[in-house]
């Protein structure tokens, strides 16, 4: 299924009504000077079209932060059925669509997760084109064009939106208002192509990703992890903001009423000290260095499992939301690949008085910014 259409931007209000006819609409909304969040909206005026990345990725709509999975009472153990609503997530960029594609894989893999699947099936995903900023590197991860099971994707072509129709649901919606949409004219097709060419050239952060798994393997004991890990706060900010971090914890919530309670699933983070602890307080990743490189490996190497893929989609959320500045994926990869790069730990050393020469013994910021081995 892949058809195209266009509609005029100044008629967005009508498009919005169309989306509302499918379900409750969620879109990026500005929450601070620099931050955005997917929130329920009533009018297009609330939408922050300029939003590049929201604080939490759209995974929150399907894999919820906190959800009861089981309940028990006098009559036994019960499965808690997911509460779903027809909903539209508007303004999802290609990186986040790719992220959802990875989440889809994890949560449909056997045994499938009924909560995730039910919410996902009740949702229409409407993508929106974007222009990269300095933290975007989806191009490096190959996630810079819309993938995964989305419904519609809107590309900004000046005074119109160019719509890619990707699913039966999407097509039904478009066909319900046939007069509103036009077939793209040749000129519009060209504008569409030009947009993506321009966008492709707009990336300022880039690395070659072909050898990533090999690099991650050979650099497992790199000094980079110690340098960065010693700055790590173990605050766990990098994982909830990641579109593909799917780890969770399951906890029992007992009720005062003697026979009742719930078993709840909550987001967890591999950056917390208790994550890899086993009985008897053995911890397989006791320090922040261990945990940080574990996370990097998951993101950039992927696991030797049926999912098999690196799970980073290049959205730049972790880079932007790390208080310690150590989730600088682009520069870490460049450093590991032995290419010019600057890490937060270099600046530190330079300030503390690097030797200022290319002696090879310190990691001072030399003219080409290259790393000493």
């Amino acid at each position: 299924m892949e058809r195209t259409a266009t509609f005029k931007k100044d008629q967005f209000e009508q498009f919005f009504c169309l989306l509302k006819s499918f379900g409750k609409v969620f879109a990026p909304v500005r929450v601070s000077e620099k931050s955005f969040s997917f929130k329920s909206i009533e009018s297009p005026s609330q939408i922050a079209f300029e939003a590049l990345r929201t604080i939490l990725p759209p995974k929150k709509f399907f894999f919820q932060q906190h959800e009861p999975i089981l309940s028990y009472d006098e009559n036994g153990i019960h499965e808690v059925k997911p509460e779903t609503q027809q909903q539209v997530i508007f303004g999802v960029h290609p990186c986040d669509l790719a992220g959802l594609g990875i989440m889809d894989k994890v949560y449909t893999a056997s045994p499938p997760d009924p909560h995730y699947i039910a919410r996902r099936q009740a949702t229409m995903l409407v993508g929106l084109s974007c222009m990269p900023d300095k933290h975007c590197f989806c191009k490096s991860m190959g996630t810079d064009s819309p993938t995964s099971d989305y419904d519609l994707f809107l590309t900004d072509i000046g005074d119109k939106y160019f719509v890619q129709i990707h699913s039966a649901n999407g097509l039904n919606l478009i066909e319900s208002m046939p007069d509103f949409f036009s077939r793209p004219e040749a000129q519009e097709d060209q504008t569409f192509k030009d947009f993506w060419t321009t966008r492709d050239k707009a990336f300022s952060s880039h690395f070659e990703s072909e050898n990533l798994p090999a690099i991650m393997d050979m650099e497992w004991n790199s000094q980079v992890w110690d340098d960065l890990g010693n700055r790590c706060l173990s605050c766990g900010n990098c994982t909830p903001v990641c579109p593909t971090c799917y780890c969770f914890d399951m906890v029992d919530v007992a009720s005062l009423h003697a026979n009742r309670g719930e078993r709840v699933r909550e987001w967890d983070s591999c950056q917390f000290v208790g994550f890899a602890k086993v009985a008897g307080d053995t911890n397989f990743r006791p320090g922040p260095v261990d945990r940080l490189k574990f996370w990097y490996r998951h993101k950039l190497h992927g696991f030797e499992d049926p999912h098999g893929l690196p799970t980073c989609v290049g959205c730049g959320r972790c880079t932007e939301s790390c208080p310690a500045g150590i989730d600088d994926i682009v520069n870490v990869v460049l450093r590991l690949q032995g290419k010019p790069s600057i890490l937060v730990t270099d600046k530190k050393k330079t300030q503390a008085g690097g030797c200022g020469t290319s002696c090879g013994d310190c990691q001072c910021d030399t003219a080409d910014g290259d790393q000493h081995a």
Binding site: I69, A109, R120, S145, D149, W196, F303
Partner: protein, 296 residues
């Protein structure tokens, strides 16, 4: 569209999926008997509500034990036969296991599983086998010896080596006494320290698991099944190498904290694999390229 597709993206069609049951829904099981084995290790026997779900359980697999209101804990199945009942040998170590020790016969718990990949019985057929257990690692090893002894003629020599820190921690004393009398297997039991006035009624030696491996008649043709505390593996594997065993003849049961047991929650990731799904038993050579599994 311009795209640098470095990484292949296989797209999942979400609408192909039909509603399914939660993988976290446990079966009910009734606590039938509690046998104290040492100060803080008890053997719990459960009567299964749906025995068919556990009948395929293989030695080395585990179940998730749920105490409503407290939580779940992954426990190795300790019985070689799981038709109708299932035994778990549990140490009182945390909240969930602590609460388990408060239960009495007749109480109910939730059990789901069995999960994971156990010891590769098919690969062991016709071979000489050495079973090595350290401390509570005896639990899955016991399910293995029970399974092997039930089909004794299908396997070659069987050697059991069981070590512990203090003699007080000896588990399955009665059963080991019977095993020691068998002519078709060799049993070595060692403790690093003998404590307490009452001498145990099994014959054993002062020393470590590795000392027993040195003593035991193990030929290069043996296969090894190991379970014990993480620190033990490095030394045991080294000793087995001295005996001429290659990594492809050694299977290890790896301990991690499985929370979901279905390859999703991430707690048991090790070097890139889900211990709950691809383990907990791994062949040594498959671990060689995985970082952070064991030091060896």
């Amino acid at each position: 569209m311009v795209t640098a597709s470095a990484i292949p993206q296989m797209v999942i069609n979400m609408h192909n999926h039909t509603p399914c049951q939660s993988p976290f829904l446990p079966n009910q099981a009734k606590l039938r008997s509690i046998t104290p084995m040492s100060q803080d290790n008890y053997l719990f026997e459960f009567l299964l509500d749906k025995p068919e779900e556990f009948s395929s359980c293989m030695p080395g697999q585990f179940v998730q034990l749920w105490l409503p209101g407290v939580g779940e804990s992954p426990i190795s199945v300790c019985s070689g036969r799981t038709d109708g009942t299932l035994e778990l040998c549990v140490r009182k170590a945390g909240r969930v296991t602590g609460a388990l020790f408060n239960l009495t016969e007749g109480d109910w718990v939730g059990l789901r599983g069995p999960y994971g990949i156990g010891f590769p019985i098919d690969d062991y057929l016709g071979k000489d086998i050495v079973l090595i257990a350290g401390g509570l690692g005896i639990a899955p090893i016991r399910s293995l010896w029970q399974y092997l002894l039930d089909r004794r003629e299908d396997f070659g020599k069987i050697v059991l080596i069981y070590g512990m820190r203090h003699s007080q921690q000896l588990l399955f004393r009665q059963e080991l006494k019977l095993l020691l009398r068998r002519s078709d297997m060799r049993v070595y039991i060692a403790a690093e320290e003998v404590i307490g006035p009452d001498l145990p009624t099994v014959s054993w030696q002062l020393g470590r698991v590795t000392d027993m491996i040195k003593q035991a008649e193990i030929d290069p043709g043996f296969v090894a099944a190991i379970c014990g505390p993480p620190v033990m593996y490095k030394y045991v594997v080294e000793e087995l190498k001295q005996k001429g065993l290659s990594p492809s003849q050694i299977w290890l049961s790896i301990e991690r904290h499985m929370k979901c047991a279905v390859g999703k929650c991430g707690h048991c990731f090790v070097g890139g694999t889900f211990t709950c799904r691809d383990g907990p038993v791994f062949r040594m050579d498959s671990l060689r390229f995985l970082p952070e599994v064991i030091e060896c």
